[in-house]
């Protein structure tokens, strides 16, 4: 791999001021991993996605079913969160197609202010906690605007500085070794030393997919639910094949973002919480030492 490809500045080697005291026996190689734009936009994105997810679940609770096409099927929706009674006992359930899952206590029926309450997503997952569609929508719009503005800053900066080209597209060498990398990932063997100077191919492809496919899809599907934007940009409806399909894609893409965040946070924990957090807060990342034997 060629060093010229990496965005990283000159490494700061141990015994420098930047090295925490008491760790002199281990070679610490701090490199500047994240620019200030990446760090600031990352944490604004974290805030926005949290608020958007929780207010989005509040909005979803007003009609907890998913449909496809141009209109809603009230009689037999493809997927629904609901509640019913069996032998006088209330139960919450999720039905997808003909498959029914008992979700009492979490989905369909959950405790609210000490009482079992019929609501699709539980109070702890929605914003506001009580059923309040108007406030939920207002929160959703505020953070949607912030998310889009923040995303535009990030995209413009990323293209202008060639950040995406450098850090989101795997190099030829990386493509050649992508098989071994998947195995390393599966064994939770994280890159160290020179190899840790840049994102590996899986990281690059994942960040590319999230930044250029998943999140834009989520935003476009959200816009396609707006009757005003549908009138202004009729292609929104045509692209998704109807407002209800757009609504379902919006929900499923949000679910995709949650899955990404779960894996992302798990890998942050497994590959060194302190080092990763330091790099996303201060920019400095310790690439560590090469393993003696690779493989």
């Amino acid at each position: 791999m060629s060093l010229a490809e990496t965005e990283l500045d000159d490494p700061v080697v141990s015994n420098d001021d930047a090295v925490p005291k008491g760790k002199e026996q281990r070679l610490v190689t701090l490199v500047k991993r994240h620019s200030v734009v990446v760090r600031v936009t990352h944490w604004i994105t974290v805030l926005c996605l949290t608020m958007l997810l929780m207010s989005g679940l509040q909005i979803f609770n007003a009609r907890p079913q998913l449909d496809f096409g141009i209109k809603t099927d009230f009689d037999h929706p493809p997927a629904v969160i609901d509640s019913d009674e069996l032998d006088g006992k209330a139960r919450g359930y999720v039905r997808i197609g003909d498959h029914r899952f008992d979700t009492t206590g979490v989905l369909g029926l959950s405790e609210f202010e000490g009482k079992p309450t019929e609501r699709a997503f539980p109070s702890w997952a929605t914003l506001p906690g009580e059923q309040d569609l108007g406030t939920g929508r207002a929160i959703h719009f505020v953070f949607a605007w912030l998310f889009v503005a923040n995303g535009l800053v990030y995209l413009v900066w990323g293209f202008a500085t060639r950040h995406f080209r450098r850090d989101f597209l795997p190099s030829r060498a990386q493509w050649r070794h992508v098989g071994g990398e998947i195995l390393d990932h599966a064994r939770l063997r994280f890159a160290r030393g020179e190899q840790a100077r840049q994102y590996n191919a899986i990281q690059k492809m994942t960040y590319f997919a999230v930044a250029f496919v998943l999140l834009p899809l989520l935003v476009l599907a959200g816009w396609a639910m707006s009757p005003g934007l549908d009138a202004a940009f009729p292609f929104l409806l045509h692209v998704f094949g109807g407002r209800q399909t757009a609504r379902s894609i919006h929900f499923l893409a949000a679910f995709g973002v949650v899955l990404f965040v779960v894996v992302h946070v798990a890998l942050v924990l497994l590959s060194g919480l302190f080092n990763n957090m330091r790099s996303m807060v201060t920019g400095w990342y310790d690439i560590g030492q090469e393993r003696d034997i690779h493989g």
Binding site: I59, F60, A62, R63, D67, I70, K71, T72, F74, D75, P128, G129, D132, L133, G134, T135, R137, A138, I139, F141, V142, W145, M225, S226, P227, G228, L229, D230, A231, A232, F233, P234, L237, R243, Q244, R247
Partner: protein
């Protein structure tokens, strides 16, 4: 009596409990904070400004085919007004109904259903998008609101069209049920697809859909489309109507602009 914490650990634990409770209370009441209220209340205005900049005044909402029409068109909100006068009119096919148009107009007018039906009409098959997330397709026929406004003559000081309705919402208010009302601006009122609908699917509106006359505002959500219209009042602002937010649903917390 409360035990006095004696050890440092007990003191710390108590402090943490108090801080935790404060944080929780803060979360609960954060929407009462004036700044938060202003931001949450202002975002609807931003949505409106941006959408109006994008939308041409005549740009139409998508229209559909007859085969797309929903077999079950969901009816929510009021579906059967309690008003005795309304019920008497409904029993008699709304022959005694008169739409009142007044406020900031040159000539206040009253229109019977026969007079409204004799005016130019528009039929459209459109998608009804509810704020809750569902959509239904329906065929509507009615008088363009523009034609009714032109007949009364809108004064230059008028900014909003306020719809007063026969139905009330019983929301547990001790002073009794709340009269339903709504409002749109003149831009929405003059849009070609904005009609006072009297037919659905080629037949006079059923009571649950807002008989004898209901509003269609196709570039906005369903909660703007008042049913059971009694009176149309042209106003320069709506701060003295209801609780002043421009509609029953707006008074309960929905955004006034419902293009999204």
């Amino acid at each position: 009596m409360v035990d006095r914490p004696t050890t440092r650990r007990a003191l710390l634990a108590r402090g943490a409990t108090v801080l935790g409770a404060l944080a929780l209370a803060g979360c609960e009441n954060v929407t009462d904070n004036p700044l938060v209220k202003e931001v949450l209340g202002g975002v609807g205005g931003l949505n409106r400004k941006v959408q109006e900049a994008m939308l041409g005044p005549e740009q139409l909402a998508q229209e559909y085919e007859l085969s797309d029409v929903s077999t079950t068109f969901y009816a929510n909100g009021s579906t059967d007004p309690d008003d005795k006068h309304y019920q008497a009119m409904a029993a008699n096919g709304f022959k005694a109904y008169k739409l009142v148009v007044d406020g900031l107009v040159e000539r206040p007018i009253e229109l019977t259903m026969a007079e409204l039906r004799a005016m130019p009409s528009r039929t459209q098959i459109t998608r009804h998008d509810c704020v809750e997330g569902w959509s239904c397709i329906g065929q509507w026929t009615g008088t363009p609101l523009q034609a009714v406004l032109d007949r009364a003559g809108v004064k230059p000081t008028a900014q909003y069209v306020v719809f007063h309705c026969f139905d009330t919402m019983d929301d547990g208010d001790p002073s009794g049920p709340t009269p339903f009302y709504g409002s749109i601006d003149l831009l929405a009122a003059r849009h070609p697809q904005t009609i006072l609908a009297y037919d659905k699917g080629g037949k006079p509106l059923e009571v649950k859909y807002g008989a004898p006359l209901r509003l269609r505002v196709e570039r906005q959500l369903g909660y703007k489309m008042t049913k059971y219209i009694k009176r149309i009042q042209l106003m320069s602002d709506f701060k003295d109507v209801g609780e002043g937010k421009g509609g029953y649903w707006e008074d309960t917390g929905y955004q006034w602009y419902a293009g999204i």
